[in-house]
Amino acid sequence: MEPELVVPTMEAIRRWSGVECPNAAARHGLADMVGLIAELEKLRGTMVFEDEPSSFELAMRDCMEPGA
C-alpha cells in the first residue's frame, strides 16, 4: 500500500519546483523515501550550531596520513 506521504509530496513538488510526477516508478521512489525520512529523523540534534559545509575541506587536510 502506498504511504500517505506520496500524494502531498507530489503536490509540494509541483508547487515548489513545477515538476510533475513522471511515472509510476517515480511514485514508487517517493514511497521508498519513508526509510530515508526515518533515518534523518534519528539524526536530529546531531548537527551543532557552528557546523558548516566548508569544514569538509579542512577535515580532509587534517585527516591525511601522519607526516604527509
Binding site: A24, E39, L40, L43, M47, D51, M60, M64
Partner: protein
C-alpha cells in the same frame, strides 16, 4: 602474449622502447571492437580513421627520435561525458544527443599531452545516474563475462570495454561508485581518487560535491600512471586540490609486509552474498599471507553517512536537471526521471545539514575506523552480480531495492571523500567477478595503489580475460 593482453603501462612502455608500433596497438583495438562490440554495445562514437592517423603520427615521431610521452601510442576510449571542443558528448542521454561541447576537458588535454590516442566515446548510464549500466537510449551495455548480466554503472562502457580488451584504458566518473562498480563487476581495476584530486573542468556534472574523475584499467600500476598524469590543481576548476602530486608508480614497492588493514565487518558486510564473502575472505587471507595485518573494526555512523549521501546526490541532481525535468521529462528513461523526481522533495535544511556534517563524520570515521590502520577493506559490491533483467526498473519498479543495493558499499566513500580502489579478487558461483575495495586517508592514493599493486603481484584475477 597478444597485444590485446598488454596492460596500459605495458603497451606504453613497449611503444617507448620501440618494441611495438602505435598503429599495431590501434589496429588491435579496432579489430577487438569490430569483433565484440556488437554483443557488448560499448561504444557511442568510434573514430577509427582518426585514431589510425594519430598512431601513424606517433610512430613517425618516435622514428625520428622525439621523446614519447608516458602514454604515447596507447589507444583509449572514454565515457561520453568528457567534453572535447567541437565533438558531441551525449552524456548517454537523448536530451544531449546533439550537444556539441565548446571546450575540452582538462583531463582529456592532459591525456593528449601524454600521448594517449583517443579513439572516441563510450556507452554509459544516462547522465551517469545509475549503478547498473542500463541505458534506454543507446541500448544496455553488456558484461563480457556473460552478456545477460549487468556491467555495473555508470561507467558501463569503460568497464566492459577494458575487461573485453577492446582498449587499454578508459575514463570513468564516480559519484556513488560509478568507477568502482563496473571495475568490480567486469573484473578490472578502477580508482576513485580523493575528492578534488582530479580536475572536473569540462566534465558533465552530476553531483558537484561528490563527482570524481578517474580511470578503469587492467592494473594498479596502470591506475598509478594514469592518476599521476591527470591529477593536480587546475585553474579552470577552483575546487581542485592544490596538494602536490607524488610519483605514484615509485610507491609501488610490491610489499604488503606491515600493511595494516581494517575490515569494517558491520554495514559493509551486512546481507552480503556468500560467494562474495568467500572471495573477500580469500583476498584477506592473501594479504595476511604476504605480511599484512588484518583486524575487524566497527565503522561508525554508517546510517548517517548513508542518509546524507542520498540527500546530497539527489538534491544536487535535482537542481542540475530541473529545467529539463520541467520541459522534457519524457526524454529521460523511466528509472532516471523517477530517481530525479524524489530529489525535489528534499528539504533544503537537510541538504545543508548533509554538507555540514561531512567534515565531522570524516573525522570520526578516520579516528575510529582507520586509527592505526593504513587501509579499510570491503567487498566493492556485497551482492552477486545481478542480471540486467533483475535490476531493470523501467520494466518493473519493484526492482528498485535490488538496483540501489548494487552501490551500497561504494557510496559512503564518496561522502567521506576518501581515495578508494577496486581490484578483482575472485569470481562468484555464476562465474562473474568479485571486487576488493580498499580505501585510505585523504590524498593517500599511494597507499591504496601500493596495496593493490602488491596484491596483484601475487594473484592473477586481473589477468583473467573473458573473451578470446
Amino acid at each position: 602474449m597478444s597485444l590485446a593482453e598488454l596492460s596500459m603501462t605495458e603497451a606504453a612502455d613497449a611503444f617507448a622502447k620501440g618494441e611495438v608500433k602505435a598503429e599495431a596497438l590501434v589496429q588491435t583495438s579496432l579489430a577487438r571492437i569490430a569483433a565484440h562490440n556488437p554483443a557488448l554495445n560499448v561504444t557511442i562514437r568510434l573514430e577509427g580513421e582518426a585514431a589510425l592517423a594519430a598512431a601513424a603520427a606517433a610512430d613517425k615521431a618516435r622514428a625520428v627520435g622525439i621523446k614519447a610521452g608516458p602514454l604515447a601510442g596507447v589507444p583509449m576510449m572514454h565515457k561520453d561525458m568528457y567534453y572535447r571542443a567541437g565533438k558531441v558528448s551525449t552524456c548517454g542521454s537523448k536530451i544531449r544527443q546533439d550537444f556539441v561541447a565548446d571546450k575540452t576537458a582538462t583531463v582529456l588535454m592532459k591525456l593528449d599531452a601524454a600521448g594517449a590516442i583517443d579513439m572516441g566515446t563510450l556507452n554509459m548510464a544516462e547522465f551517469a545516474q545509475n549503478p547498473t549500466g542500463h541505458n534506454a537510449h543507446y541500448g544496455h551495455c553488456h558484461n563480457p563475462w556473460n552478456v545477460d548480466y549487468c556491467t555495473g554503472g555508470s561507467s558501463s562502457g569503460s568497464g566492459s570495454g577494458v575487461a573485453g580488451r577492446l582498449f587499454y584504458a578508459a575514463l570513468g566518473s564516480d559519484t556513488g561508485g560509478s568507477i568502482r562498480l563496473p571495475a568490480s563487476i567486469c573484473g578490472v581495476t578502477g580508482l576513485k581518487a580523493t575528492q578534488t584530486r582530479v580536475s572536473r573542468h569540462g566534465v558533465m556534472p552530476l553531483s558537484f560535491s561528490a563527482d570524481n574523475v578517474g580511470p578503469l584499467v587492467r592494473t594498479a600500476r596502470d591506475a598509478a600512471r594514469f592518476l599521476a598524469i591527470t591529477a593536480g590543481h587546475d585553474p579552470y576548476d577552483a575546487t581542485s586540490a592544490r596538494e602536490a602530486v607524488p610519483d605514484y608508480e615509485a610507491a609501488l614497492t610490491g610489499e604488503l609486509r606491515g600493511l595494516r588493514v581494517a575490515v569494517c565487518a558491520t554495514s559493509f558486510m551486512d546481507g552480503a552474498d556468500e560467494p562474495v564473502v568467500k572471495a573477500f575472505e580469500e583476498a584477506l587471507a592473501v594479504l595476511k599471507a604476504q605480511g599484512a595485518t588484518v583486524q575487524y573494526v566497527a565503522a561508525p555512523s554508517m546510517a548517517a553517512i548513508n542518509a546524507y549521501t542520498a540527500v546530497i546526490s539527489r538534491a544536487e541532481g535535482a537542481a542540475i536537471h530541473a529545467n529539463w525535468m520541467r520541459d522534457y521529462p519524457q526524454d529521460y528513461a523511466i528509472h532516471l526521471n523517477a530517481r530525479l523526481f524524489g530529489g525535489y522533495a528534499m528539504p533544503a535544511h537537510y541538504y545543508i545539514e548533509s554538507l555540514a556534517r561531512r567534515g565531522p563524520l570524516l573525522r570520526q570515521f578516520v579516528a575510529e575506523a582507520m586509527n592505526g590502520f593504513d587501509v579499510v577493506a570491503t567487498p566493492t559490491v556485497k551482492t552477486r552480480v545481478p542480471t540486467l533483467a533483475e535490476t531493470d526498473i523501467d520494466v518493473n519498479p519493484e526492482n528498485w531495492s535490488r538496483f540501489m543495493a548494487v552501490s551500497a558499499n561504494t557510496r559512503p566513500f564518496n561522502y567521506l571523500g576518501l581515495p578508494t580502489i577496486s581490484i578483482p579478487c575472485g569470481f562468484d558461483d555464476r562465474g562473474l567477478p568479485v571486487g576488493l575495495q580498499l580505501a585510505a586517508r585523504p590524498f593517500a592514493e599511494s597507499t591504496v595503489l601500493r596495496a593493490a599493486d602488491a596484491f596483484q603481484q601475487v594473484t592473477d584475477w586481473h589477468k583473467r580475460s573473458p573473451l578470446a
